[in-house]
């Protein structure tokens, strides 16, 4: 069951990625032009959150 849920989530996530910017027309909710700095911020924040010393 756990595997099925996990696979379903992975499928949903990859579908979401495949969907991203596949629609046309209108200004998007997530602007691709600002993606680089926004994803750099996300990656940096993730590294900081995981960068703490283990006790």
């Amino acid at each position: 069951m756990r595997r099925i849920i996990g696979m379903a989530l992975i499928m949903a996530a990859t579908v979401a990625i495949a969907l991203a910017s596949s629609s046309s027309g209108g200004a998007p909710e997530i602007d691709p032009g600002s993606a680089t700095s926004a994803l750099a911020l996300l990656a940096g924040a993730a590294l900081m959150i995981r960068g703490r010393r283990r006790s």
Partner: protein, 532 residues
Amino acid sequence: MIRRASLLGLLLILELLALSLWLDNASLGHAAGLAWLVGRWGAWTGRFVVVSAVFLVIFGYPKARNSLPSLSIPLREAPISWGFLAGHFCSVAAFAGLSVPLYRSPSGTPGNLATGAWLAVGALAVALAGLAFAPPKLWMEAARATGNAWVYASAAGLSACLLGVASQWMWAPAAHLTFLMVKTILRAFVSGVIADPATRTIGCRGFDVEIAATCSGLEGIGLILAFGVAWLWLFRREFRFPHALLLIPASVAAIFPINALRITALILIGAAGAPGVAMGGFHSQAGWIAFNAVAAAFALTAQRLPWVTVPGRAAAVPARATENPTAPYLAPFLTILIAAMISRAASSGFEWLYPLRFFAAAGVLWFYRWKYAPLDWRFGWNAAAIGALVFAMWIGLDRVWGGGANAGLASGLSGLSAPARAGWLALRTLAAVVTVPIAEELAFRGFLMRRLVSADFESVDWRRFTFVPVLISSVAFGVLHGDRWLAGTLAGVFYAAALHRRGRIGDAVAAHAVTNALLAAWVLASGNWGLW
């Protein structure tokens, strides 16, 4: 084995990202033959390849796990092939060169031969990168160890793409639900709301917007879903399942109404007399601000909520933020990124709030000042010479490739009073020469480059020169410079060279500061605002 594969994946992803920012398949819309095929199906093919590669890792890893030791030992003995790597970069350069006539052909009809050569050179670049990181024999053994996982991965990738196309029916109902939420929230703030459900047009006081399918909130849901699944998968040993899975619907439930709040705020800003800000900077940045906030909340909740973590396995949360060794290196740069998002969100063309970047970064650098005291901040004339060389290279590449004019900055400055203009330019120059070089060198050379060598990055000698980390950290640095990614990448390599010469962070910072100071002088003297 995993480290080598990760480095290869990271290199290809960064290059793909740089290319996707540079090339626009929409410009091939009116082409014919092979170029038309690239324009019509190129993006979907790219998505199929990326999704299939993810599934190949998921399906192939359990099958090949037992074979990993037998693959890892010969891989450790086989060094990275510099010849193939050089061939890869030559192919990437050729690919970029062939892209110019293909995507910017004045006639709009690139020939089949040119398009075929472009595709072949692209495939060659990928193949050479693969051969640089592992010899052909090991690739064959890895393919044998994963068995027919590639068949399942391709099928799953194709299914995901087909589902992606088929599930577009969700856009309209989601957009309608967002429309209803925006209407409800807006009525709590203002009277006289105009709302037309047929066209999903909503607004007040002479300012209205149409909630398009792309603004329905599904993009944010997709991103947070991808982030959440990746986070739970990466750190799965620390989480209690199925408890931790609840974080996924919780984050989706959070981001959807936040999108409605974003659109409401956009309408209120526009109705308050700033339609340019509403439809410009705010529209461009607010979605990313919302996504990053929810993603950070997800990661922090996952780490701090005992109910979802396995006791004793979660990364320890220190009593004080100053106990985090990564923070002094990354926090100043991340603060600049956050300040940039905020100041852009409040702008329309001209970033009047730019000084926020300077003061925010200066504050964080001051906060961690005692952490920087042990670092070697001395610098020599060689660093200044490297900085001047990078400046010359930057200007030269700008002449060859061309850059934007930044008309927004020019017109914004002309609209300011003389004292405000002088103050803005002074703080813009101070940021370029002081806070930006320190923050970026700490992040890219001080942290990322050494973190790619070892997880315990503080133990890595500053003089240690390892080619792949230098390359990856420089490409990452270059990608953040948008259209000038090539100049940014080369600058990163030069600053790394400045650092390695004597093992002093001060040399890298000085070189970077000299480049930015010369660029600032050039911009102020010539009025070429596009370089800022």
